[in-house]
């Protein structure tokens, strides 16, 4: 983080200037090395906070399910999902998720041997109604979680990006000797570098609890496979599954004899007998319909950040304990809060909106970090106009690329989305080669991004019409239009300013 100090420091400073200068050098090097990746992960992460709403936007004709689900409805959804899985020869593992964060009853089955996978949305009675079709949400989710690289490597890279972000927060704080004195200074005008530094530091310091939580939880989620892999070598004879089962609960055994589908409704009643306020969140059944099957039933009780505690059962209903995610040991509770704290899925829409604001702040911090470095070079008489344009293309090209992917998702096969996204990113870089400077490039990309967002809303309305659809579709359309206006607003001000100057001149 950049900052100001007195030109003639008389008092002994808490952080010695040499230490601060060394930290700043490290902070700059780290930020520059990872800037583009951190920016993409932060921006896509901000969008992912609302991924459930985006799924509803993409499929506004699917049933909306709200409120607590009864055991019978969950049982019906499991049975319906199993019947469909058998019909598609994919009855191996099943997952049902309730409407806790998504207002959807989601049913998935998967056979890792055949690769067959099916995802459905069920109605409030547990009947499968329509297959899930949310290619844009899947695309943004993939961009955030593994940058669309092969799954394991992508997640590890995103984990490393989380570590780099965490490291930047540490070095940023340690290179900020006037953290309190400047805590409220937000000044515009004068040097661009100091102006950007004010924004960078204010957003960084006051959002620190959020920034630390999302970078730490993201790093841990991304690196978990690597960490558990090493742990498995040290203590579990290289068996990662055994190490994971200590943390995530019992796994299915290899007993392949046919068995009845677990009575999930009875299991829910069993949990609710002990905890009447517990509500269904999800159920995972590994090796469904086989003698070795195991059920992980997620039930949430009020007053906890965790999305729910996990209760383990054998297929015949015999309890196998629980994960302690709500009231267990420290490690269990940390495990329970990782995902909701990372995505902001623990307090309804107010918290999601707050996470959206704070996520955007983190994205701006990343962007201004590089612009400060570029402005510093310019101030010192060593401008890097090429890099200024590249950074403008990377930063301001993202809204265009993501919005273009949203439009494409309405018309083309999901497999083309990554290509379209990359094509737009490269087109933005080509524009950087053509346009005279970063300021012009930024304005062009802001305009294109705004138009692409409006285009996404137009395409959505053209696809789904203005008839009776999920009201969330209209809310999301409204938010996208508002974002487009915000993106283009500085352009309108600039045009208005130019017009006033011209009028004054004439």
């Amino acid at each position: 983080m950049d900052q100001r100090v007195e030109a003639k420091p008389k008092k002994r400073q808490f952080l010695p200037p040499e230490f601060v200068r060394a930290m700043l050098a490290g902070h700059s090097a780290l930020g520059l090395a990872f800037a583009a990746l951190i920016f993409i992960v932060c921006l896509s992460g901000t969008v992912c906070v609302f991924i459930n709403e985006l799924q509803r936007w993409e499929q506004p004709d699917a049933p909306v399910v709200t409120g607590a689900l009864s055991p019978d409805v969950v049982g019906a959804a499991v049975q319906a999902g199993y019947a469909q899985a058998v019909a598609e020869k994919a009855a191996h593992d099943m997952f049902v998720m309730g409407p806790g964060v998504s207002a959807r009853l989601y049913v998935n089955y998967h056979d890792h041997e055949t690769g067959v996978d099916g995802s459905w949305l069920a109605d409030a009675d547990g009947r499968l109604v329509t297959r899930v079709k949310a290619p844009f949400s899947d695309f943004v989710g993939g961009l955030h979680m593994n940058l669309h690289l092969p799954r394991t490597w992508g997640r590890m890279l995103v984990g490393l990006i989380g570590v780099a972000l965490l490291s930047s927060l540490i070095s940023g704080l340690l290179s900020h000797p006037r953290i309190f004195k400047d805590a409220f200074a937000l000044r515009r005008g004068g040097s661009k570098r100091l102006q950007e530094a004010d924004l960078h530091n204010r957003l960084g310091v006051w959002g620190l609890p959020f920034h630390v939580v999302v970078s730490l939880s993201g790093a841990l989620l991304g690196l978990s496979t690597l960490i558990v892999g090493v742990l498995a070598m040290a203590a579990y004879d290289g068996d990662s599954d055994a190490a994971f089962s200590v943390i995530l609960g019992p796994r299915a055994t290899a007993e392949e004899a046919t068995a009845p589908v677990p009575d999930v409704a009875a299991m829910m009643r069993q949990v609710q007998a002990a905890k009447p306020a517990a509500q269904f969140t999800s159920v995972q059944i590994d090796h469904v319909g086989r003698a070795g099957q195991v059920v992980h039933l997620g039930m949430r009780t009020p007053g906890h950040v965790a999305l729910g505690n996990t209760y383990y059962f054998k297929g015949d209903g015999t309890p196998l304990g629980d994960g302690g995610l709500e009231t267990g040991g420290v490690g269990q509770q940390i495990l329970g809060v990782l995902q909701p704290l990372h995505f902001g899925w623990f307090g309804g829409y107010p918290i999601k909106i707050a996470y959206g604001v704070l996520g955007l702040a983190l994205t701006i911090i990343t962007h201004t970090g590089v612009t400060i470095w570029l402005a510093r070079r310019r101030d010192k008489g060593r401008p890097a106009p090429g890099w200024e344009k590249v950074w403008a293309a990377v930063g301001w090209g993202q809204p265009v690329a993501i919005a273009a992917s949203a439009i494409a998702a309405l018309y083309v096969n999901a497999s083309f989305l990554l290509g379209i996204y990359l094509a737009v990113v490269f087109a933005a870089l080509l524009l950087a080669a053509v346009l005279p400077n970063a300021g012009v490039l930024e304005r062009v990309l802001r305009l294109l991004g705004s138009l692409a967002m409006i285009g996404a809303v137009g395409a959505h309305v053209a696809t789904w019409g203005i008839g009776a659809v999920d009201p969330m579709a209209w809310i999301v359309n409204g938010v996208i239009v508002a974002a487009a206006i915000c993106l283009a607003y500085p352009l309108a001000r600039a045009v208005r300013g130019s017009a006033l100057v011209s009028a004054a001149d004439s």
């Binding site: 950049d2 490290g26 203590a235 306020a277 490690g331």
Partner: protein, 205 residues
Amino acid sequence: MLRREITAGLEHLSTATVALVTTAGTLLLCGGIALLRLSWLGKRPRNPPYLIAGWILITGGIAAFDYAWDAEVGMAYGLIALSLVAYLVIAAGFDDRAHKSPRLLREVALEPEDRPANWPRAVAKALLSIVLAGIAAIGVGVAFAVAMPMGAHDRIVVGGLLVPILWGAGMAWTLSDAKLLRATLVLGSVSAVGYGIAFLPKALL
């Protein structure tokens, strides 16, 4: 969904009380942040009464959230509200002329240490901060997960959580420390101790 979240805070309080206490907590945070601003940015910098009162109000605000929503959820809500209130106070105090003020014109930005471009050194730093710091952090985390006298769940998760923290701290340190050999020796030693502890029980079997 909001109604369900409000219900979540209602085990011991009525809806109206939760709303009232939450509003009171938010106002306390606003007041606390405003007082800190007066202390740090006002004409009398570091005005101690404002400073102390500001922190007291902020503590009271977070305590109000804890009371309304229970400690676990209330702490999360309170810290999020604190960030947002601070952003609002900063935006409200936005200054379009400050860079022209004589006081601030006296101030200059501290420059990062001047380090001439040196590719072999840059590659070495990258290897240290990304690879060796990562190896050392994972070693310590796994050693914690294997050897700490805690429940299996706790030591594995806490050990796992240590990895990104130590890796991030190691990265920040190696990138700011100009002495490559020192960083290499320290990280190498930490790795040796960490993996030694982690794999020793297996080696002894």
